[in-house]
């Protein structure tokens, strides 16, 4: 019998013994391997076997949660009693729902996961080969040294998720992926700069692909040499896709209905209103075609679907789980996430749709300003409640519509809600990167007159 079948049986018995009629068991297990290099050898190699068991129940109309990483059978029994005890002190308003179920055809058939976990030997061989490629790249020719800290990383992971509840819902999904990354630290004798690139599900791809990626990482690092400063003032800013993605990632929770209901999002009551400029359409898609990690059901077992959150600047919907949907008297959007102590909200592939302007045209439209290619410190420098951000950035000067000299050590400040309205244009390139259960993507975006602090 599968481990989950045993756990189901115990949970069912324990719950019934305690008179608990409504409950849900969520079980996930995963394993992973990862290897890193330092100079000419593998510096670290790790593998893991993980499991977690999340249980919730409804007692006297109130929900209680408990979780454990131990799959010991007696621990499973304790799990049920702990959750029941926690339900007794809960003060939720009775909106928690154990999903009643949907018909099988409501769940989208998603591509079957045919991933097989590579062996430790395969990972070891791959990472050493990649290290060799990294150090033999043509960067040395230009006189820059590939310095300590440069590394190849190779990883693989796979996981399975099971959801079982007292209404007879019994779902499972599996996923797996592997990837390779290159980190380049270049030393030109005066300063060190870094660049990085990744490839996904790539073990069977030829080495040309890797060489090309390493070349890109080297170029990224080299382009940063000699970065100067910028004067404090207002600038036209193009946020490179990766930096706009970080901004969107940070402020993504403002689209969660539960945040609005708790007074933690300024988008409360704004559905149907214009909250962004015309060129902004934001979509959340659980079935993005390029993605090998798709989701047919959410953290409560509800079938998922694709939807526009912002359409041509108008807020079409917030994102819901069963409980937040009940509070607003709407249908759930299938965006429940399963946490240790609550049902939260999540996104799948959440992206700003691309426009029709090429990157060159976007640069031309900016005229002069800054092309921001890197931002860091969002966990401290950005506040989803207020929308304010002030973030350390690096990038390149834009002069006469062309990318110029590198610049660093300046901050770009703004407010997310104002930013949405200020975006003047987006370009026509949208890169989803690799597979992932949650991905936030954007094209490059242009904003006029942003405050920048520098010299």
């Amino acid at each position: 019998m599968e481990k989950f079948d045993i756990l189901k049986k115990i949970v069912k018995e324990c719950s019934e013994k305690r008179g608990i009629a409504e409950y849900e068991l969520y079980y996930s297990e995963s394993s992973g391997i990862s290897a890193d290099t330092f100079r000419d050898e593998i510096s670290s190699f790790s593998s893991s076997v993980n499991g977690s068991l999340l249980y919730r129940c409804i007692v006297d109309g109130k929900a209680g949660y408990a979780s454990t990483s131990s799959l010991d059978e007696s621990e499973t029994e304790l799990l049920v009693s702990r959750a029941a005890e926690n339900a007794a002190i809960s003060e939720d308003d009775g909106d928690v729902i154990i999903f009643g179920g949907a018909s099988p055809e409501d769940y989208r058939q998603i591509p079957k996961c045919d991933f097989t976990m590579p062996s430790a030997a395969v990972i070891r061989e791959r990472v050493m080969k990649n290290r060799e490629l990294l150090y033999s790249s043509d960067s040395q020719i230009a006189g820059d040294k590939i310095a300590d800290g440069s590394a190849a990383n190779v990883y693989a992971s796979q996981g399975r998720t099971f959801l079982f509840n007292s209404n007879g819902l019994d779902l499972s999904s599996s996923s797996g992926n592997c990837g390779e990354s290159f980190r380049v630290v270049l030393d030109n004798g005066e300063e060190k700069k870094t660049g990085g690139e990744r490839i996904y599900n790539s073990f069977d791809k030829p080495d040309d692909v890797r060489v090309e990626k390493i070349g890109k990482a080297v170029k990224e690092a080299r382009d940063k040499f000699g970065a100067g400063s910028v004067k404090t003032g207002k600038y036209n800013i193009i946020f490179k896709n990766e930096t706009m993605e970080e901004i969107l990632d940070t402020f993504c929770p403002v689209f969660y209905a539960e945040k609005a209901q708790k007074g933690l999002s300024l988008l409360k009551g704004k559905v149907g209103e214009k909250i962004a400029s015309d060129c902004i359409t934001v979509t959340d898609d659980p079935f993005a075609e390029d993605n090998t990690v798709q989701a047919a059901f959410d953290g409560e077992g509800v079938p998922t679907r694709c939807k526009n959150v912002i359409e041509k600047g108008v807020l079409k919907t917030l994102l819901y789980n069963l409980s937040s949907a009940k509070k607003d008297g709407v249908e759930t959007t299938g965006n429940a996430s399963r946490g240790e102590a609550s049902i939260g909200t999540r996104v799948y592939t959440f992206f700003i749709n691309k426009g029709d302007m090429t990157r060159d045209k976007l640069l031309e439209a900016a005229g002069s300003g800054i092309y921001v290619t890197g931002m860091k410190g969002f966990h401290a420098g950005a506040n989803p409640v207020t929308g304010d951000f002030s973030i350390e950035s690096e990038g390149f000067i834009i002069e006469d519509g062309k990318i110029g000299r590198p610049v660093k050590s300046f901050t770009v400040a703004g407010n997310f809600f104002e930013l949405l309205k200020q975006i003047a244009a987006v370009d026509d390139e949208l890169d989803f990167g690799g597979p992932g259960s949650m991905r936030i993507c954007s094209p490059d975006v242009l904003v006029y007159d942003m405050p920048v602090a520098g010299e």
Partner: protein
């Protein structure tokens, strides 16, 4: 000894069973006993066998880290319990070294087979020379200097909820414009055991309690927030000294200050950074660059600078994991070494790094009680504990009055750093403009950016009111509790981000 380790945890749960006999049925007891089935127990003999297996292909060191953690968190929104996290984390991490090569594996499967499989995975990768090791574990007992009067996992949740409610109410009642209050009560009972091929066998029990409150002030479609927290390596007696009301009021006060504030102007300025969590500046600007994790790989701006003057002579910086009941303190580190007090910078001269076993090998230096990991799922590396600037001789009022135009950063937010370049950034939670030596109007949305080497030279006044603040520090070995601290300091010039 390992039996004792288990029985300690058993004891914990037993207390719960009896103190809450109403919610637990006595029928759970017999099954509970079966938890400790002899062959599932982490006996000393089994630990020795597992270490020998990890060493079986030629590793020169192997280590087992066993963890059993009880993690409780109560979240409150608008004065009502929003969620209760009740989690048990149990697992094992096995690590082997061969020179400076490291291989690690972790598992939640604690059966004999599961542990041996995990050790074999390590052995398969680290070497290929069949080796037979005779491991004999000898137990070492460390003194626990952190008294805990009321173990939080054994306190009724209703009592914690009452404390939280008192804090939330104080925040809400602070002002009519306080529109929302969020709060959490966190307690962690982290039991660890370390056994290694040097024959070491030791354990520690790390109990922490923390309350944090965040208040949101709203007016005219604008939100501003403020936050405050208190945390110690102790139990519920924490609130004998710090009242939940004071935490709530402080969060609300800060939110109200920010609600009335205009945006911070941008540019280079002289900045006075207040004590307590202000110490995050050393943590980010310099502390991470002094971790062997980056020093050993020569990826730190501080590598190779021991004995050199790297800071203004007014600067003396300490990392001290031995302070009784301090948030970042540990009796032993996660390799089993006793915690130490280290002088990192003395009068501006670099004296020491934070060093773990692996990176100590790379650097040719001895480990100094700095190896830490969030859980068995991470492998340990050098990290900070309680890190702070020592007090100086400058009077606090002199520091403020010395600034003609600048910023007074009263409360800092979090930050981050790139150890290679030393470039750091952090957010200021509460700030005021200083004009003609006087603290004037509040400003919001400020951030400070710069590089560690630059700011260390620019700290030209150090005050006398040393205090620490609590934080969670995230890095390669996970999220760990650390204290940051300092007296009021003056930084002669730093870039202030604003608008």
């Amino acid at each position: 000894m390992c039996k004792k380790f288990y029985s300690k945890i058993d004891g914990l749960i037993f207390k719960k069973l009896f103190s809450k006999s109403k919610s637990y049925d006595i029928m759970y007891l017999p099954e509970f006993y079966s938890y400790g089935k002899a062959d599932d127990m982490l006996t000393r003999a089994l630990l020795e066998e597992v270490i020998a297996r990890a060493m079986s292909t030629g590793a020169d060191f192997a280590e087992i880290f066993f963890e059993n953690t009880r993690y409780n968190m109560i979240d409150m929104i608008g004065g009502k319990v929003d969620s209760v996290t009740d989690n048990t984390i149990t697992g094992v991490g096995i690590r082997a070294l061969l020179g400076v090569k490291t291989v690690s594996a972790s598992t939640v499967d604690l059966s004999r087979d599961g542990l041996l499989r995990c050790a074999s995975q390590v052995a398969d990768v680290i070497g290929d020379k069949p080796t037979i090791c005779d491991i004999y574990l000898t137990e070492r007992i460390h003194t626990d200097v952190h008294a805990v009067k009321r173990v939080p996992d054994t306190v009724r949740k209703s009592e914690k909820i009452d404390l939280l409610k008192a804090g939330c109410l104080a925040a809400k009642e602070y002002h009519n414009d306080i529109s929302q209050v969020r709060a959490y009560f966190l307690d962690v009972d982290h039991n660890i055991m370390i056994a290694n091929s040097d024959g070491l066998l030791c354990e520690d029990r790390q109990i922490r309690t923390r309350m944090g409150i965040s208040a949101i002030a709203s007016r005219g479609g604008e939100n501003q927030d403020g936050m405050s927290s208190a945390g110690m390596r102790m139990g519920l007696e924490l609130f004998d000294n710090v009242s939940p009301e004071s935490i709530g009021k402080e969060a609300a006060r800060q939110a109200m200050v920010n609600l009335g504030a205009g945006y911070c102007p941008a540019g280079k300025m002289t900045v006075a950074i207040e004590n307590g969590f202000g110490g995050v500046i050393f943590h980010e600007a310099c502390g991470h660059s002094l971790e062997a994790t980056s020093v050993a790989k020569n990826t730190s701006q501080m590598a190779g600078k021991l004995g050199q003057k790297i800071a203004n002579e007014k600067v003396t910086a300490i990392d001290d994991g031995t302070i009784p009941n301090a948030w970042g303190s540990i009796n032993i580190d996660d390799e089993g070494n006793p915690s130490e007090r280290k002088v990192l910078i003395e009068n501006g001269v670099l004296k020491n790094y934070m060093i773990d076993k692996l990176n100590g090998r790379r650097m040719g230096m001895k480990e100094n009680g700095s190896s830490r990991r969030q859980s068995f799922r991470y492998y340990p590396t050098s990290r900070m504990t309680n890190t702070f600037f020592l007090e100086g001789n400058d009077k606090n009022e002199d520091i403020i009055s010395s600034i003609e135009y600048g910023l007074y950063a009263k409360k800092m937010g979090g930050g981050s750093v790139n150890p290679i370049s030393g470039a750091f950034n952090f957010a200021v939670g509460e700030a005021y403009i200083i004009r003609n030596g006087k603290i004037c109007e509040p400003v919001r949305g400020a951030s400070l950016i710069g590089t560690g080497s630059e700011i260390l030279q620019n700290i030209d006044m150090v005050g006398t009111n040393l205090e620490c603040g609590q934080g969670m520090c995230g890095s390669s070995s996970g999220s760990i509790p650390v204290n940051v601290g300092q007296p009021l300091i003056r930084v002669s010039e730093i870039t202030v981000g604003g608008r």
